[in-house]
Each structure stands twice: as C-alpha cells, then as structure tokens.
Amino acid sequence: MNRVATLIATIETEMDVQTESPAVNPEHLRMVEALLFAAGEPLDQKALSTSLPEGADVPALISSLQAVYEKRGVNLCCIAGKYQFRTAADLAFLLRKEQPEQKRLSKAAIETLAIIAYHQPVTRAEIEDIRGVVMSKGTIDTLMEVGWVKIRGRKRTPGRPVTYGTSEAFLVQFGLESVGHLPGLDELKAAGFLEAIPPSGFDVPNPSDGLGPDEDPYEGEEAQDLATGSVNLDEA
C-alpha cells in the first residue's frame, strides 16, 4: 500500500506547513491554483492578488500551494520573483525535447553569458579581462538577441562604459528565482572571484583596456535600450 504511505507522508508535510503558515482559505487556494495553471507565463503576487477576493493572503496561499505540489509531477516554482507551474525537473527524461537550433550558443557566448550573470553589472572591458581576450562584437549581440542579456546602465568611470546584466527571460529560461540564486554563487564569492579587479600596475596584461579595434563607443541611438533595460546606475 504504497499509496497510503505516500498519503500519510503528505499529511505530515501538510501539517508542518500548517504550523508554519497561517491557515489558508481553501477556496482561495483553488483560485490561486486555477490562475497559475491557466496562465502560461509566471505570475507575480500582485497579479494574483488583483484576481483574488479582497484580503486573500497571497504569500501564504503560494507557500501552501508550493507545499502541496512539492512532490508532484508538476511543481510550483518561483521564477524571477514570479510563480509558475512547471513539470518536475526529475521528469525531464520523460519530456525532454531538443532545443531549437537558434539557441545553440558558441563557447564564447556561453562563457560571456556566465560572466555577465555572475559579475553583473559588468562592462565589456571587465568581461574581456576575465576571459583574457578581446571580444568579438557579435558575442554580446547574440546574447542580447536571444534576450538573455540587456544593457543595464553605465559605469561611473572614465569613458562611462555601458554595463551589462541578465534579463528576466534569462531567469525564466534557467529557472532561477533571482540572480542571487545562481548556482555556486556563494562559493565563487567566497573565493573572491566575483570581486572587482584589484588595482592594476602589477597586472597580467589585459587584452584591451580601452576601446577595442572592433568596438564602438556607446551613444545616441541606443539610448532607448538603456531606458528599457531597468538601469541601475547605483550599482555601477
């Protein structure tokens, strides 16, 4: 009687949840479930509470629903601060599909993407410093075209270079709650690999500190990209 055992385990889990979070309205729970199931895209708490009756405890409903679905074939995931039902990761073998060809990235692009993700906000020069090579113009273009990388702002250093960061689509694609949840982030931080480049003077030669031969200054017509890219100058 596997089933009963599972059920009892479920109850125990539920009871735990019960003691942690306040009792939730079961009708509200159904509604959140329906809303999240129906929507193709991740929904944030605000979107949920707009559709729910006044006074519904959205955070409690979500954590309750997450607990209900925790062991199921479908899980309620937190993606980019929003919530979405997704098939359980361990069932990937059952559902796996080949990625469409256009999203196959070059080695350089993958490496650049990782550096942007972990080091953001990061300038082109900093990416080149880490990779030890001048970047071809196409690399970041490809990442921006796929929609995973965006221009965040400009660094308050001479030349005011633009800074890159990852987009929400990146978080959605890789199933991340936020960039703070990148795998191995803490280890990299502890090892000091994410810190700003130490003062130069005794540094290994950089591929290019200034403007690369294939690099144009950022200006004018791209101003709109900046505006849409949730710029955070403070971090620069």
Partner: protein, 274 residues
C-alpha cells in the same frame, strides 16, 4: 601531454596536440592567451592555485616559439603575453633581484597570474553548471495548453443627445433643403447632322419653304423640336454662306423661309408677311 584532448572536452576543436618532444601548434581553438595558459596549466595536472608559474611561462614561450617556426600568424595579444611572461620568468629565476619601488614582486605577479587562471577556470565551471540546469522548454515545461484570459469588452457608447439631435435636425434638413443639382440632359440634334440632312434635301426643297417644315419628322415637340429648330437654322445659315440656299424672314420671330439655290429656277422675291 598525450591526453590533451580531454582537456578540451568543452571546446570544439583541439588546439594543441603534442607528444613528448614535439609540439603541434595551432591557435585556432584558443580563445586568447589566457585560454592557452589555462590549457597548459591543466596539462601540469596540479591544482592551478599551486601551479609552477615558471614552468607555465616556459611552456608558453616554447609554444610561441614553435608557432613562429611554422610561420603561424599570432595575434598581437599572444605576443604581448609572451613578452610579459619572459619578463616574469627572468625575474623569477633571479630571486635575489630587488623589486623596484612601487612595483610588485615576481611572486606577487605569479600569484596574480594563478588567480586569473583560477578565476577563468571557475567561470567556465559556472558556465557549464548554468547550461546544465533544467531549462525551460527543454527539460521542464510550463502548461502546454494555457487557458487565456477572456477579455470581455464592456461596450459603452459616447453618443449624446446632442449627437442624436444633430443627426435628426441638421443632417435631415440638409438632405431636404439642399437637393443635389442634377443637370438635365437635353436631346440635341447635332448641327452636322442637320446640315447633312439639308444637303441631302437640296433640289427637293420647294421655293421658300418654311423652316419649321424642314425639321426631321421625329424631332417634333418640346425640347427635341427646339434643338432641331436651332440646329437646322444654323445649318441653313452655313448653307446660305456657301450660297446653296437663300433665307428670308419678314420680321423678328416670324417664320424663316428657305429657298433652294442649287436648282435651275431663277430666284424670285419671296412673299413677305406669310
């Protein structure tokens, strides 16, 4: 260095392959000098943090030398790195050398190089981990058939009483008052037609025939007669100018008489006041 290939498992091409003595050199697969250094470092099979920078520098310089021998074109940054490593090597092998003021020691420079290699290595590992995550639409899936929100349009009309009254009064009044002008197309007997007809009649027109009797029989009455009368008169005037007919009218608005001059008979004075 026979197992170099496995160090490139993430790379598309094997950039360096070597047996114990000879290096086979190509820079095609390397993403810059740091990448080359990292590959060489991995070949030392020790923790990068503890790697011998001196040995690494020697391997790098050897590689560059070999590349030059086969006239391989090397990007400038490979050569800059070579120069820097040669300098570092010279300082490393002269341990007694005093570090000039404000310049890092050779050990510090070596440490810094190790750190950069470690960092690149760590970022590559992170990239691999990232790409191996369960990715949306490849490994995990959202709802395959989402149920879209039905947008129900709550239609309201902006029309006001003003619009209603305008429509009733103004538009209707305009329709009633200002009937559109429609030109009346009157029947017209062409002058040419009238002249041709008269010319055919020449020789058969009697002495001083009334113009009204010369009109085409199917152009009698109303508009048609008026047009036929005017055209026939104009045709007669043309014929008179050509000397083919004579015209006579007793008084304004009286009947106009036409006399054929093409015939043999001599002209006679018309009776006036018919």
């Amino acid at each position: 260095m026979t197992d170099t290939a496995e160090n490139f498992d993430d790379f598309e091409s094997t950039a360096i392959a070597a047996d114990d003595d000879a290096l086979v050199v190509t820079v095609d697969g390397f993403e810059g000098p740091l990448d080359l250094l990292l590959t060489l470092a991995r070949n030392q099979k020790v923790d990068i943090a503890k790697i011998s920078v001196l040995k690494l520098a020697e391997q790098y310089l050897e590689f560059i030398e070999a590349a030059r021998k086969i006239n391989l074109e090397l990007a400038a940054d490979y050569l800059v790195m070579a120069a820097w490593l040669a300098y570092l090597k010279s300082r490393l092998v002269l341990p007694q050398e005093k570090t000039p003021e404000g310049e890092p020691s050779a050990d510090e420079m070596a440490t810094r190089l190790r750190w950069r290699l470690q960092r690149l290595d760590a970022m590559r590992a992170a990239a691999t981990r990232l790409m191996n995550r369960e990715r949306l639409d490849r490994d995990v899936f959202g709802r395959g058939d989402p149920e879209p929100v039905n947008v129900v349009k709550l239609r309201t009309y902006k029309d006001t009483l003003y619009d209603l009254l305008t429509a009733y009064a103004t538009d209707r009044a305009r329709r009633l008052g200002g009937k559109a002008y429609k030109p009346v197309v009157s029947p017209v007997l062409q002058i040419e037609e009238a002249r041709e007809r008269l010319e055919r009649m020449l020789g058969r027109i009697g002495d001083w025939s009334g113009l009204s009797r010369l009109l085409p029989p199917d152009w009698q009455g109303g508009q048609r007669r008026r047009s036929a009368l005017a055209s026939t008169l104009l045709a007669c005037l043309e014929l008179a100018r050509d000397g083919k007919v004579e015209l006579n009218q007793g008084a304004p608005f009286e009947e106009i008489y036409v006399r054929d001059r093409s015939g043999p008979h001599a002209p006679l004075a018309p009776e006036t006041g018919a």
